[in-house]
């Protein structure tokens, strides 16, 4: 996918190869400008690929304008028609498809029930709250029973509480309709909560595809590990099945690792402070109490700052203070070796 002319050409998407399964909740995740929305717009037909192809259940989509694709979009700004009522908005696609009036009325009723907006059919979009507009946008797209529903940052405009509600709502709609959802977001937590599978995107390429567990527990690169959740990175050297840290301590390798420089990724909640000071020696820089958890910020010689997150199961026991020397324990299964 190449944009622009001459020296201004920009390759927005590069070597993307994806297969999305029937009835899957598939998420494209990445920071702004990574190409996730462009990919969605290619599927919807608002953009044409300069090379490559997109198939829908075997049928190539090239050259088909958006209005001939059995795919519907929920826009980030909802893009509800301000001059039409809620019911007319929902009916729009079916009318364009030339469905009989009785059927349209029936589907509109069903959709209003599905998104819990019965009684709102004659309102204008401007008279609805953000969450209600979101539901109308969903109903308008789902009414046509598309083969694929595309959701472009659809929850980003909502406040946190409403967003959590709509996340559950979307999962319910996905289960009830059996339609394939392709969801675009920059919010990693949202992606983990909702998706069957996630594609993490980076500068127009796909960095990793996998289930939320795979992406979170087994990131394949520093980029993915850093983007999804919080991660500590340690520099180490692999030699003969052992990982040597600069301070002289060593760890067993969790998987076979060829000798050389490596980066270790460790999730903050999977590292532990040892009770007896054994393990890698570190110094406490700060202790942050967060209610459910306490975060210990550690300094390790020759390493980046390191975080340990520990659940406050026994209440707020502040056993260590800033400045204390502590031992850091890294269970072998908590350590992920990255190639870079």
């Amino acid at each position: 996918m190449v944009y622009g002319e001459g020296s201004e050409r920009v390759r927005a998407l590069d070597r993307i190869s994806l297969e999305i399964g029937h009835n899957e909740f598939f998420t494209l995740l990445g920071p702004s400008g990574c190409g996730k929305t462009t990919l969605l717009r290619l599927i919807a037909g608002f953009e044409q690929p300069t090379e490559g192809s997109i198939r829908l259940y075997g049928q190539p989509l090239e050259g088909l304008p958006p209005y001939r694709r059995p795919v519907n979009t929920v826009f980030q700004s909802y893009a509800l028609f301000p001059h039409l009522s809620v019911a007319q908005n929902i009916a729009f696609g079916l009318e364009m498809l030339g469905k009989p009036r009785a059927e349209i009325a029936q589907v509109v009723r069903e959709m209003l029930g599905l998104v819990k907006l019965v009684g709102y059919e004659n309102r204008r979009p401007a008279q609805l709250s953000g969450g209600q507009q979101q539901r109308v946008a969903l109903a308008r797209a789902l009414a046509n029973r598309p083969k694929v529903l595309l959701l472009d940052e659809s929850l980003s405009a909502l406040d946190l509480k409403l967003r959590k509600e709509m996340q559950l709502e979307l999962k319910r709609l996905h289960a009830e309709t059996g339609i394939t959802f392709v969801f675009v977001t920059h919010d990693q937590e949202e992606a983990l909560t909702m998706s069957d599978r996630i594609a993490v995107m980076q500068e127009g390429r796909i960095a990793q595809v996998g289930t939320p567990t795979e992406i979170y527990d087994a990131p394949n690169s520093r980029y993915v590990a850093d983007f999804i959740g919080e991660t500590n990175f340690l520099k180490a050297r692999a030699r003969g099945g052992v990982l040597l840290l600069p301070d002289g301590s060593s760890l067993p390798t969790p998987v076979h690792t060829p000798d050389g420089e490596v980066t270790l990724a460790i999730r903050p909640e999977r590292a532990r402070l040892s009770a007896d000071g054994s393990g890698i020696s570190a110094r406490v820089k700060d202790v942050v109490y967060k209610g459910t958890d306490t975060i210990y910020l550690l300094e390790l010689p020759g390493q980046e700052p390191f975080q340990v997150r520990s659940q406050n199961r026994l209440g707020a026991l502040q056993l260590v203070r800033p400045g204390d020397p502590v031992g850091l324990e890294l269970p072998p299964e908590a350590v992920r070796v990255l190639k870079e």
């Binding site: 919807a44 037909g45 608002f46 304008p65 958006p66 209005y67 001939r68 795919v71 519907n72 979009t73 826009f75 700004s77 893009a79 509800l80 028609f81 301000p82 001059h83 729009f92 696609g93 364009m96 498809l97 401007a126 308008r140 797209a141 046509n144």
Partner: protein, 265 residues
């Protein structure tokens, strides 16, 4: 309305400059309106209130014919110019093409070309192609200079529309024509109404171009008023002018209100 923190207000005498400015603009018009109700035969000496001149205007068949011509011309020119303006605005918005700025400038150019030049050019053109001067030539000439007045509000409205709305329509199986008919056009209505009203009053008020291209029998109200003035300023002239002013103010106000309502949505 007057913000004391605006540094301009520190200048002494600003208030009186403002009063003078508005007086300069509006006193002549108020005098004209007031004198249209003057009972005296001599237009400039006030003696008492009277509706006589308005009755005179309504009884004068020549004035009525001129008013009718003005309405026919304004209505036809408004319809034609608005149609062209909508097409031009839709063509210009939402895409980029080579020479777009040039085209945009050309659509608005009639606003800048001296009217007398347009008038002479139109006259020469009609004569050259052998078109008989009459209502038709007036309508054609008016359509030309009304286009930019209709175009500007429509273009502004169109540029204010969320491009996602048209995309949403195509996404919902609407062909380009249906997208225009069902989504773009209805949302454009405030701009179209506003543009059409501006075109209408511009046509109603035009004198210079009409004076050149109107043949016998195609006299419009402004041209007729000019003819009356040449034989002396009668109170009747004041009365017609006041009526014309009323129509203009009403339409401009209406156009403004419709534009505002469109903004609010």
């Amino acid at each position: 309305m007057i913000n004391p923190r605006n540094p301009l207000w520190r200048f002494p005498g600003l208030f009186w400059v403002m009063v003078l400015f508005f007086a300069f603009l509006y006193v002549p018009i108020f005098v004209l309106v007031a004198l249209s109700f003057n009972a005296n035969q001599v237009a400039t000496i006030w003696t008492g209130f009277s509706w006589d001149w308005y009755k005179g205007v309504l009884d004068n068949p020549n004035i009525l014919r001129a008013a009718q011509n003005s309405l026919i011309v304004a209505t036809a020119a408004t319809l034609l110019s608005t149609l062209v303006a909508v097409a031009a605005a839709v063509g210009m918005t939402g895409r980029r093409f080579r020479g777009q700025n040039l085209f945009n400038g050309l659509v608005g150019l009639p606003l800048l070309v001296p009217e007398i030049v347009t008038a002479v050019a139109s006259l020469l053109f009609f004569l050259a192609i052998g078109l008989q001067l009459g209502l038709l030539t007036v309508i054609l000439a008016h359509t030309v200079f009304c286009i930019p007045f209709a175009y500007l509000p429509i273009r502004a409205r169109l540029e204010g529309l969320d491009p996602r709305l048209a995309e949403a329509a195509t996404d919902l199986y609407a062909s380009p024509w249906h997208t225009f008919r069902r989504v773009t056009l209805p949302l454009l209505v405030p701009g179209i109404v506003s543009g059409a009203m501006l075109a209408f009053i511009t046509s109603m008020d035009d004198f210079v171009i009409t004076f050149f291209v109107a043949g016998a029998g195609a006299t419009t109200l402004p041209v007729y008023i000019f003819g009356m003035i040449r034989t002396g300023i009668t109170p009747e002239v004041n009365a017609i002018s006041t009526l014309l002013l009323g129509v203009s103010v009403l339409l401009v106000a209406l156009s403004f209100v419709v534009g505002q309502r469109g903004q609010a949505r």
